[in-house]
C-alpha cells in the first residue's frame, strides 16, 4: 500500500509578533490578530531559503528512519519561492541527501498546494512500480509587500515526505483534486511580491475548492467527517480553515492539532505539509487523517490517510525535531531586524 515512509519538518527559529508589524504600520493590532487568528509568524535567518528548508526537512525525515538514499529515485520541491528562476531546487536537495545522480527531479509551483501536488506525483511513481521511494517537499519563504495584508501572515518553513510502498507509517487510502482557473492571487514574472483579489479570494477561491475537494473525498470513500480522528486544511490564516472545517462538519477538536498557523503564520506550500507533520508527531496506529490543501489560481488536493503500527516500530520520531518543539523555541525580532532578514531594506 502506498503511503508515507517517513517525514520531517523544518521551521526557522526566528519569529515576529503580528502586533509588532501592526505597530510599524500604525494598524490596530488587536483587530488584525483577532481577524486573522495569527499571533506570530516564522521568519527565515539571513542564510536560509526554500532550498535549505527543503534539505533540513528531508534530512530530518531520513534521520527518523533508515532509508537508502540511492533508492530515492525522484525529488519534487513545491514552492512559490524557489531561490532561482531557472535552476531547480530539487537537485540541491537530491545532492544534499545523497540521492543523486540516478534520480529524476523537478520543482513544482501551484501557489500554496505545490507540496501536496508533489505528494500525488510521488504516489503515482511509487504505485506504478517505477521506483521504491520518491520524496515530495513543500517549503516556502513567503513574500508579502511591506504594509500589505499579506505581510501579517507570510511566513517560512517546510516539510518533507518520503513516499513508498514498503511498510508505510501511514497509508494514503485515496487522493483526489478539485481545480479551476480562478484569479484570486498571482505574481507576475520579475515582480517581488504577489497581488491578490482581496475579499474575492475567500468564496470562489479557498472555500469553493477546499469544500469541492473535501466533499469529493467523502463521497469517494463513503465516509463522514466523524470517521476521522484528525483533519488539516490549508491555513493562510486561522479563520479560513476553521470556517471551512465547520462548513464540512469537522469539529474544532479534529482540526486543533494540525492548526499551527496561529504561532507559525502562513508557510504557503509548507502549510498543509507542516500541519500534517504536527498530526503525525502526535498520531497513534489506527488514527485516520483527513487532509485538504489549497493553492490559489486555484485548486485543492484531498487525502485520506490511516496511520499504521509502523509509526511505533519502524521510525523513531524523536530523531527529528517535532513541529511543537520547534514552535516552542522561538527567538523574537523587532521590525527593523525583521526587515533586514527579509531583505526588504536593500542596502
Amino acid at each position: 500500500m502506498v503511503g508515507i515512509i517517513t517525514y520531517g519538518a523544518y521551521i526557522p527559529r526566528y519569529r515576529i509578533k503580528i502586533e509588532e508589524i501592526a505597530r510599524v504600520w500604525g494598524a490596530n493590532a488587536a483587530e488584525i490578530t483577532g481577524g486573522l487568528g495569527v499571533i506570530e509568524k516564522a521568519v527565515p535567518d539571513y542564510d536560509e531559503n526554500t532550498a535549505t528548508f527543503a534539505v533540513e526537512a528531508t534530512r530530518s525525515a531520513l534521520a527518523r528512519r533508515s532509508v537508502d538514499p540511492t533508492e530515492i529515485k525522484a525529488v519534487y520541491v513545491g514552492s512559490e519561492s524557489h531561490p532561482y528562476a531557472v535552476k531547480p531546487t530539487a537537485v540541491t536537495v537530491g545532492e544534499a541527501i545523497g540521492a543523486t545522480p540516478v534520480m529524476t527531479a523537478a520543482d513544482y509551483e501551484f501557489a500554496c498546494k505545490a507540496g501536496t501536488a508533489g505528494i500525488q506525483t510521488a504516489m503515482g511513481l511509487v504505485s506504478s512500480g517505477m521506483m521504491k521511494y520518491a520524496v515530495a517537499i513543500g517549503a516556502d519563504t513567503a513574500q508579502g509587500a511591506p504594509g500589505d495584508a499579506l505581510e501579517y501572515t507570510a511566513a517560512a518553513g517546510g516539510a518533507a515526505y518520503v513516499i513508498g510502498n514498503d511498510d508505510p507509517i501511514a497509508v494514503i487510502n485515496h487522493t483526489c483534486s478539485f481545480t479551476s482557473d480562478t484569479p484570486d492571487f498571482w505574481r507576475r514574472e520579475g515582480e517581488d511580491y504577489p497581488r491578490h483579489g482581496g475579499r474575492f479570494s475567500g468564496d470562489p477561491g479557498y472555500f469553493k475548492h477546499v469544500t469541492g475537494a473535501a466533499k469529493m473525498m467523502l463521497a469517494d470513500m463513503g465516509t463522514k467527517p466523524s470517521d476521522y480522528d484528525y483533519a488539516v486544511f490549508h491555513q493562510p490564516n486561522a479563520t479560513f480553515p476553521q470556517k471551512g472545517a465547520a462548513m464540512l462538519g469537522f469539529t474544532p477538536e479534529q482540526i486543533k492539532t494540525g492548526l499551527i498557523v496561529p504561532r507559525l503564520g502562513n508557510t504557503y506550500s509548507g502549510a498543509v505539509p507542516l500541519g500534517l507533520a504536527a498530526i503525525l508527531d502526535a498520531a497513534k496506529p489506527g488514527d485516520r487523517i483527513f487532509v485538504t490543501s489549497y493553492g490559489s489560481g486555484a485548486g485543492s488536493d484531498a487525502f485520506d490517510i490511516t496511520v499504521t503500527d509502523a509509526i511505533l516500530n519502524k521510525i523513531d520520531r524523536s530523531k527529528g525535531p517535532s513541529v511543537e518543539s520547534t514552535l516552542a523555541k522561538a527567538k523574537y525580532l523587532d521590525y527593523a531586524v525583521y526587515a533586514r532578514h527579509k531583505g526588504k531594506i536593500k542596502v
Binding site: 542564510d47 535549505t52 534539505v55 531561490p83 545523497g98
Partner: protein, 131 residues
C-alpha cells in the same frame, strides 16, 4: 570562487565528505589525498563525517565584509569534529550563547550569494547541538 571550483567541492560542502586513512584510521576534513602520517603506506578512502563536534575556540565578529555585513555580529569558531578534524566555520547562535566545548551539529545553509544574479553557494554551518 569560480563556478567550476564550487561544483567540484559540492560533496564536501553539502555532505561533509572527507577522506579516511584505512592504515592508521585518521579522518581528514577537508579531504586529503595523502595521509601525512602513513605517507606511501596510507590507504585513502572517501569518508562522510557525522557532522557532530564541539567548539574548540571562537571569536565574535563585529565587522565583516560587505557580503556578510547583514549577519554581524556573528560567531566564527574552530570546531573539532568527532572524527578529529578541525574546521573554521560560522556557528549560528547568539554571541552570548557560545562557549568553549559547546556541542554543535552541522546544518545546511547558504554560505554566500554572488550578487543578485550569480550562483548561490550552499554548504555546511554549525548550530548548538541541544535536545
Amino acid at each position: 570562487m569560480t563556478v567550476a571550483r564550487f561544483w567540484r567541492e559540492i560533496p564536501q560542502r553539502y555532505n561533509m565528505v572527507g577522506t579516511k586513512c584505512e592504515t592508521c584510521g585518521r579522518v581528514f576534513f577537508p579531504p586529503r589525498s595523502v595521509c601525512p602520517h602513513c605517507r606511501r603506506n596510507g590507504k585513502i578512502v572517501e569518508y562522510k563525517c557525522s557532522g557532530k563536534g564541539k567548539v574548540l575556540t571562537f571569536s565574535i565578529l563585529n565587522s565583516a565584509s560587505e557580503q556578510y555585513a547583514e549577519m554581524k555580529p556573528y560567531v566564527l569558531a574552530i570546531v573539532e569534529l568527532e572524527e578529529g578534524s578541525r574546521v573554521t566555520t560560522q556557528v549560528i547562535c547568539e554571541p552570548d550563547e557560545v562557549f568553549i566545548g559547546m556541542p554543535v551539529k552541522s546544518v545546511f545553509r547558504v554560505l554566500d550569494r554572488e550578487g543578485s544574479d550569480g550562483i548561490i553557494h550552499y554548504g555546511t554551518k554549525f548550530v548548538p547541538d541541544v535536545v
